[in-house]
Amino acid sequence: MANPAAEKWLGQLQGALAERMDRWAAAVNVIAGPGLERGTAARSEAEQVSSAFERFLAGAILGEEMVQIVSGARPDAFWAALEAFSDGSTAEEWQMLSRPLLGAPEVKREAGRLRSFSSWRRALAARRVGLLEAPEMCEPLRKALARGPERVTIQAALALSRLRDLPGLAWLLQHPEATARRTRRQLVTVLAGFGLEGAGELRTAIAGGKAASPIHVAAIEVLGLHGDAAAVSALENTLRAGALDARVTAARALSRIAAPESSAALLAALDDEAWPVRAQAARALAAIPDRAHVAALVAHVGDVSWWVRRHAAYALGAHGEHGRQALEQVERGSQDMFAADIAREVLQQLEWSEEIPGGFASVV
């Protein structure tokens, strides 16, 4: 078609129709009801498929035989069995199983559905195809990732993260608008899935210290979860000059890395104008106890924000005997009723610490 606008419009129309057809099919299925017999048959087929996987891994049957058995099962039963089986398998077993399954007609059909007009169908295909440990799936998954919309992008990203596909990670970080509505928590799960191999890409993405989009904020969080000491400098820059969410997350990441050299940046962040940053900075200082922090933390036990008071007091609790003495002074001598209250709470937690599962550190 010569006219790109018309082509785009036609594509959208086809997509919308395909979506609707999917939804109606599901609705008809609802009205018809799942049916006890159908449910039992599907369960039985799924058990047969699982049994074929087990026998293949045990060397009792060849790959071709396994593919032949699983090809006879209904698609839903096949994928349900594969998903359930993936939970209890080792990486080696999974690689061994994935190779012959790539030749299964249902897998080929599902890979083809990564190009479906229906975005929901593309998302489901990405989720299913991503179960297999097969690098040759990266390319079609990357195309689905870029085509979107968001729900397809997120499923393709999860699949690519299992395959540790770094070009996929780079694309995600370069296109923050593709995941703008997703929560930080979900994006953290996606990015953390790429493992330590992805840390370099994450550091590059936040290097400027101006990260503000959800995916970049999630990248900061994941660097913290990885305990990536090489990211400390970039995180400190973000803590100083980033957007609000990024500053809060950077303080949390520095807390997880617990590098003593971050003290200066975190002490400076205690005076941030935004209370969530002050609160996270105080909490982070609990992870790197140092007598030099005590005075600054005591000053913030009287902060206007409850969360800052709370985290500063608990951070003092994590500072050993010096922190305890400071808390006792606040409790006895402070004119600030709120500061005395929170100090009292922490002192009680310290008293109870031997009975708390995980000790005092678990309640900080």
């Binding site: 999917d22 939804r23 109606w24 099919a25 599901a26 609705a27 008809v28 299925n29 609802v30 009205i31 009801g33 799942p34 006890l36 998903e83 939970d87 929901w120 998302a123 489901l124 989720r127 729900r151 499923q155 509505r181 997703r182 929560t183 930080r184 928590r185 979900q186 953290v188 799960t189 953390a192 959800p214 979860l225 409850w306 969360w307 709370r310 709120f338 209250d341 929170i342 009292r344 709470e345 002192l347 009680q348 109870w352 610490s353 009975e355 708390i356 599962p357 678990s362 309640v363």
Partner: protein, 481 residues
């Protein structure tokens, strides 16, 4: 022509109006049932894309505070709290508020969980003297009990619990409500996936006829009591079918006695749980919708059919009457306080229509139906009833009352199938038909009583009395708030 029309006898007019109203109600409820089927289809599709148990094995599950207002719940409180503490969720705390109970509720909690006076500070300001004490246990850091000095409304108690809660998501539970193992995970999932979500509601179902062991439903069957069977049909129609339909239209408004997980920040933004009105904890979703509309946000409140909680419904008419009167008072107050939803240009037109539906069919429907049926009896006594028209009205009334209920029962099998015997739904289908003769009329009277109390601003926390569950054990039958 007008003079001819006016010449028609008043009896004919009354029956014609009733037919028109019943037909309109039938088509409205039928549309909702169809929308609910469509929504279940959409939710089944979405479920295929999620793996909640796997996701929530990670450290990324949003933390939840369960708030439990309790007054004179000594018989059930320990088991209820124990069931919550045992729930399978990675980051959870339970805040119980003892709303000045006189039956030893607090003593039971202290003894069962070895609680000690705690120095825990509230996040929000708490009026001086309103809290008699706070209790905690070192071996259970996720449990806090707040002892109130004076009794108040359930919403007020929830407000105090909120002040002592520390997690970003909150759920108000009842001592008589049992959550399924995966319910919290299912409710939290939309918060995990979409940053714009501020509230997620689930489906509450009657537990009468089911077996609950150690806080878990181990067998689901139809209730033995006929009164509970009528209520089971009602719950499936109102709390499953209609709520899913409104979810499809982004218009989940009223959630009486429900299971709802809300963002703490959003609750604070809409000034929730003020405690001034009976409907304070009923209209949270309406307030969230109104608040979201100011910022041009949509789909902030969701309904998830896979998230199920169980509650024991009363088996005596007197208790049902009191419960329903209170519910409909709350609904009337909630609609009045949120009347802005009707003609608000910032809201979608479907939200205005949803509000109109609630006013016309939920609030004033019982008044119209009851007055109409009284008029029919009078006309019959005076020999002025147009029999053919009456037959038409009765047919529309019966079909309109039965079909949406049957569709709701069918929906149960797809949206949240729990009945374990094949014939349970079939037997409940009989009650879907029977409820139109007697039960529906009684419900209409209770609704009218609720409307009356709302008009006069009468306030109560809700009385309670004991009933017996299927296993024969004494159980608290509490009026769901």
């Amino acid at each position: 022509m007008w003079s001819e029309a006016l010449a028609i006898e008043s009896g004919t007019w009354i029956v014609t109006v009733l037919i028109a109203y019943s037909a309109a109600a039938f088509f409205a409820h039928l549309s909702l049932a169809l929308l609910a089927s469509d929504e279940v289809g959409a939710q089944r599709k979405r479920q295929l894309l999620t793996d909640p148990l796997h996701l929530f094995g990670s450290s990324q599950a949003p933390a939840i505070s369960i708030l439990m207002p309790a007054r004179n719940d000594a018989r059930t409180i320990v088991e209820a709290v124990r069931a919550l503490v045992r729930l399978d969720y990675p980051a959870l705390e339970v805040v119980v508020v003892n709303d000045a109970s006189s039956d030893g509720t607090l003593d039971r909690l202290i003894a069962a969980f070895e609680l000690r006076p705690s120095q825990r500070t509230p996040i929000a300001a708490v009026p001086r003297g309103s809290v008699r004490g706070v209790y905690g246990a070192p071996h259970l850091p996720g449990l806090v009990v707040v002892d109130m000095a004076k009794p108040g409304s359930r919403a007020r108690a929830a407000g105090f619990a909120l002040a002592y809660a520390r997690h970003p998501l909150v759920l108000v539970a009842d001592a008589g409500t049992v959550l399924e193992r995966e319910t919290l995970v299912r409710l939290a999932l939309p918060f995990y996936e979409d940053a714009s979500v501020t509230g997620v509601v689930g489906v509450v179902r009657p537990s009468n006829g089911s077996v609950i062991e150690r806080g878990q439903v181990t067998f689901c069957g139809r209730p033995a009591s006929r009164i509970a069977r009528f209520q089971t049909v009602e719950y499936l129609r109102a709390m499953l079918s209609q709520r899913l339909a409104w979810q499809s239209q982004d218009a989940v408004f009223l959630v009486p006695g429900t299971l709802g997980l809300f963002s703490r920040d959003a609750l604070r933004a809409v000034d929730s749980f003020r405690g001034g009105n009976v409907g304070d904890d009923v209209d949270v979703c309406m307030r969230l919708q109104r608040h979201a509309a100011k910022f041009g946000k949509h789909k902030v409140v969701r309904c998830v059919s896979a998230a199920v909680a169980w509650t024991r419904v009363p088996e005596s008419l007197r208790v049902v009457a009191r419960q329903r009167t209170r519910w409909y008072q709350a609904v009337a107050e909630a609609l009045w306080f949120n009347r802005e939803l009707l003609f608000n240009a910032r809201l979608a037109i479907r939200q205005g229509l949803a509000f109109l539906f609630h006013v016309v069919f939920e609030l004033y429907g019982p008044v119209i139906e009851t007055l109409g049926q009284i008029a029919l009896v009078v006309l019959l006594a005076r020999g002025e009833l147009d029999i053919p028209l009456f037959v038409i009205y009765f047919s529309v009334f019966m079909v309109g009352g039965t079909v949406p209920s049957l569709m709701a029962l069918a929906l149960e099998r797809s949206a949240c199938p729990r009945f374990q015997r094949g014939d349970d739904l079939e037997s409940l289908a009989v009650y879907a038909l029977l409820e139109n003769v007697g039960w529906r009329q009684m419900t209409a009277l209770w609704r009218i009583a609720g409307l009356w109390r709302a008009l006069w601003g009468i306030r109560t926390w809700g009385a309670r009395r004991r009933g017996r569950n299927a296993a024969g054990e004494a159980a608290e039958v509490k009026e769901a708030a």
